[in-house]
Amino acid sequence: MLKNWTAERWIATGSLVFSVAYGIAGWNLPRFTMAAVVDAHVFPIFVACCQFALSLWLWVISGSEEPQQSPYAHLQLRPGLFLLLMAAVFIEILEPAGFIIATFLFLAVGPYILGWRKWIISIPLAVVLAVGIFLLFNNYLMVPLPEGIFSL
């Protein structure tokens, strides 16, 4: 039976579980009845009930006897996954290495992952943009971006 479940039914099931967990966590919040007529748990429980009812609605209408086709069949997931990996690396090295290094690496390697092979364009562009954006934000917009190794 589970094989014929639609993606929507799986999502509805996950949403039902989430709403129950969210509601229980809301119910267990500490009470301060002397401080407020309406305590901090009331709204979360109200939202949890709404979420539960809506998820149940989706669960009921999303049944199907037909075998389901994957919505990912026509997508090329690899470049997207690599770009996400690069973004994760960017976040991790942003503070220790600094904005300029992290951005340079991201803008130099990111286009390659997406199929760009003209290094002669992407490398100088990455340098100019990384340094230019850093100077623009740090010096003119007064938004401090991590200096990393350049702060030494």
């Binding site: 993606a7 929507e8 999502i11 969210y22 919040l29 500490p30 301060f32 401080a35 407020a36 007529v37 309406v38 305590d39 901090a40 748990h41 009331v42 709204f43 979360p44 939202v47 949890a48 709404c50 979420q51 809506l54 998820s55 609605w57 989706l58 209408i61 990912y72 997508l75 090329q76 997931l77 470049p79 997207g80 770009l83 996400l84 690069m86 973004a87 994760a88 960017f90 976040i91 942003l94 503070e95 951005t103 991201f106 803008l107 990111g110 286009p111 390659y112 997406l114 199929g115 760009w116 992407s122 562009l125 943009l129 954006i133 934000f137 917009l141 007064m142 938004v143 401090p144 971006l145």
Partner: protein, 499 residues
């Protein structure tokens, strides 16, 4: 319009034409247009990305700049819709239908020109409405108490869920998840820490900017990287100027579209997305040649584009006077207003007249500036779109990260924005709209506050929401907003079965 309104508006005009504000609206409009023409980056992403531009400015100048960015991005979005069939946001989808067909016929110049002029007319009329209606609406809104505000929040959220396509239940679930996210952090009233899982950086909650950039900009980038059919074909724009015949033909559609857009823009949560569709439908019904629609009808561009911009201008009425955003972008602007310590609402005009009227007057200035900018600059902006996507998409990632990092200097926010990006990607695959989620993150805490204040007023009696006539009236409208689309869909399904 009474003389005091005119006097205050003229004072606002004085504020708007101060060199720094004039420069701010010009920079906002130019950069907003430049970002708005980027494929997949609509006004919501443009405003979110360019928030850091306004840091370091006075609140008035910063808000004027953001309004310029908003208008600029709206104009930019229509350019990509027409030239590349790539709408930057859902409101531009209708423009694609006939605009791109016109461009393929070599009449891209006419379509772009009519869109620009129609947007200018609608924007100007919208500003006049804002000038006439904002003060009375704000006076009326002062009478609103927490129960009425709670009902209004319900109305805005319900309207936001019913304006898009797809299953209503999915939009409602999306909204509900946004409300859950909105409860993360320390409760202001009791100090209770909710859903932070011991992470101290979450005590202040999850910023709307994090969710908006992730769900809109990053999910779009991720989508572009996995969907490799978005190859850009360069279009030869012979002239960016429409002929007099084109203008004559489309003037009626522009005026009708403006009226429809302004009317819908006044309704919180309903305007921006619904009005272009309504306008397109009206033009098609009124046309002597309805068969031309879908094949390259100029009225099919003039009407929806005017409606789009009319709604954008009129949307500032509920935003400024009631604090109710009419779209995701408006929700972002609401957040930005609050970030600057300005509370939009009934007291804004009396407490911050300079800011309010300066903003209204700047819209006039911004509209004129955008018309001057848009007509001759169209071929140049089209060049930005020629940036190869492998270079462009990582750059959008970097700008999104800067936009988020600049707010709290927190790498946790970067992980969150990435997470929201992935969530937005899956939501797109399974047809869950992201707009209601972002709107409810902004409106959720306000709604909770109104609910708790109302229940405190009634000593915990929930009947307070149905005992007050205005609150009941608003709730009835919200229920109608919810039921009518369901009935329409039911009728449509029945007629399809009959056919």
């Amino acid at each position: 319009m009474d003389t005091s309104t005119l006097t205050m508006f003229l004072h606002g005009l004085q504020v708007a034409v101060q060199p720094e504000n004039l420069l701010a609206v010009a920079i906002g409009a130019i950069v907003g247009t430049a970002i708005g023409v980027l494929p997949g980056v609509g006004p919501v992403s443009a405003v979110a990305l360019l928030v850091p531009l306004s840091f370091g400015l006075s609140p008035t100048t910063a808000l004027i700049m953001m309004a310029g960015v908003y208008y600029g991005a709206m104009y930019g979005g229509s350019t990509t819709s027409i030239l590349l069939n790539a709408p930057g946001e859902s409101a531009s989808v209708v423009t694609c239908i006939d605009g791109h067909k016109l461009a393929l016929k070599g009449r891209g110049g006419s379509a772009l020109g009519v869109a620009a002029i129609g947007s200018f007319i609608a924007g100007t009329l919208g500003v006049i409405v804002l000038m006439l209606l904002a003060p009375p609406l704000s006076r009326m809104a002062i009478a609103f108490q927490p129960p009425e505000y709670f009902a209004l929040m319900i109305l805005a959220l319900v309207a936001a869920t019913t304006m898009g396509e797809g299953k209503l239940v999915k939009a409602l679930i999306s909204m509900s998840i946004g409300l859950c996210i909105g409860t993360v952090g320390q409760d202001i009233q009791t100090g209770t820490i909710r859903y932070t899982f011991g992470v101290s950086e979450l005590l202040d909650g999850i910023d709307f900017l994090v969710a908006a950039l992730g769900l809109f900009a990053l999910s779009e980038v991720i989508w572009e990287t996995v969907e490799p059919n978005a190859l850009v074909t360069r279009i030869n724009v012979k002239s960016p100027y429409p002929t007099l015949q084109d203008l004559k033909e489309s003037m009626g559609a522009m005026l009708r579209g403006s009226g429809i857009g302004i009317f819908f823009g006044l309704l919180p949560g309903a305007g921006l997305i619904t009005s272009p569709f309504v306008s397109y439908s009206v033009e098609k019904q009124l046309s002597k040649h309805p068969e031309e629609f879908g094949q390259g009808a100029l009225k099919g561009v003039a009407g929806p584009e005017s409606a789009n911009n009319g709604a954008a201008s009129a949307g500032f009425v509920p935003l400024l006077t009631l604090g109710l955003p009419g779209s995701s972008t408006m929700a972002l602007l609401l957040g930005i207003f609050m970030m600057w310590g300005v509370q939009p609402g009934p007291l804004l005009i009396s407490q911050n007249p300079e800011m309010f009227w300066g903003l209204v007057a700047s819209m006039y200035v911004g509209n004129v500036m955008l018309l001057i900018l848009n007509l001759p600059m169209v071929p140049l902006f089209a060049k930005i779109i020629d940036i190869p996507k492998p270079l462009l998409l990582p750059l959008i990632f970097v700008f999104s990260f800067i936009g988020v990092f600049a707010v709290n200097n927190s790498t946790l926010d970067l992980w969150l924005v990435l997470g929201f990006g992935v969530l937005g990607f899956f939501m797109r695959i399974y047809d869950f709209p992201a707009g209601p989620l972002v709107m409810s993150i902004v409106l959720g805490p306000l709604m909770e506050r109104a609910m708790r204040q109302a229940l405190t007023m009634s000593n915990g009696d929930p009947l307070i929401f149905v005992e007050r006539p205005v609150a009941v009236g608003v709730l009835v409208v919200a229920v109608l907003f919810l039921i009518i689309p369901l009935l329409r869909r039911g009728n449509k399904d029945n007629s399809e079965i009959m056919a």
